[in-house]
């Protein structure tokens, strides 16, 4: 290949490169605006997606907080406060009755009960517990009206304090 041919070839290559650059520039100028708007839209979508992702994470965390629930165990502890002049033998019987009343709460979510303690209070409100006379004669037949005093959770263990007041029987003439 002689020198003039080589120069000719080089010129063609350079002209091709110039053409390439010119074409690229022309395409860039023609479609640049569209590309820009697409990039803008993409960034906007990234941002919105990120926002949604953060929101989902927050909601998941919130949901997990409510879902990592512990459930109320069988061993519901009941403390009964009786009037001082009342026989303390009624305590056990009242305790058993109250534990029966609280059975629907066993296995329920601790969070649910602690968030809505009024449900428990409503169940207890103005409830009359009838205590029959036992065979030993240690307790005579009486009725007690109970009222919820305190309610607490020790882990999954529900512990409640109840005030029991004797309800006077209506005498029939």
């Amino acid at each position: 290949m002689n020198r003039s041919t080589r120069v000719q070839l080089l010129r063609i290559v350079v002209a091709f490169l110039f053409g390439l650059i010119g074409g690229l520039t022309a395409m860039n100028l023609l479609y640049g605006q569209k590309l820009d708007s697409l990039y803008l839209e993409r960034n906007n979508l990234y941002y919105r997606n990120n926002e949604k992702y953060k929101k989902i994470q927050m909601l998941e965390k919130d949901l997990n907080k409510h879902h990592d629930t512990q459930y109320i165990g069988q061993d519901v502890s009941v403390e009964v406060e009786l009037p001082t002049n009342e026989s303390q033998f009624y305590q056990d019987k009242i305790r058993k009755e109250i534990q029966e009343i609280l059975q629907p709460f066993v296995g329920k979510s601790v969070h649910w009960v602690s968030d809505n303690p009024e449900v428990l209070d409503t169940m207890m409100a103005k409830r009359i517990i009838q205590i029959d006379q036992d065979q030993k004669g240690t307790a005579t037949s009486k009725s007690f009206q109970i009222r919820l005093k305190y309610l607490t959770f020790v882990g999954t263990k529900l512990k409640i304090w109840v005030v029991a007041q004797e309800k006077q029987k209506e005498t029939e003439e």
Binding site: I21, L24, T25, N28, L29, G32, Q33, L35, D36, Y39
Partner: protein, 108 residues
């Protein structure tokens, strides 16, 4: 055309070419680099302005040195000429930036 005017026009065109060429090729680079080309070109045209000025004048040091020589030599017309060169380069670079801005944003 005298040497003064030819140098003035040359400076103007060099500065304009640096801004336009740099910006247009930078736009191609931005396209291949996954960046918005028009936005990159707009920013680049602003950044290239000062470099276009420097390139047209052939380096700031030479110009400053010629200032020093001519001022100390008492040749104030030469100093004035240098100022015209700088101004022509500046207007060339500025015109390039304005053209790019007009092309991309649609207003001056």
């Amino acid at each position: 055309m005298g040497e003064f005017w030819s140098t003035t026009v040359l400076n103007y065109c060099i500065a304009l070419g640096v801004v336009l060429g740099g910006t247009l090729l930078g736009g191609i680079g931005a396209f291949f680099g996954n960046e918005p080309p028009m936005d990159t070109m707009l920013r680049m045209s602003e950044h290239l302005k000062i470099w276009a000025l420097v390139a047209a004048l052939g380096g700031t040091f030479d110009t400053i040195k010629s200032f020093e020589v001519h001022i100390l030599g008492g040749e104030m017309s030469q100093v004035f000429q240098q100022l015209i060169f700088i101004l022509s380069a500046f207007f060339g670079a500025h015109f390039g930036t304005v053209l790019i801005r007009w092309f991309i944003q649609g207003d001056l």
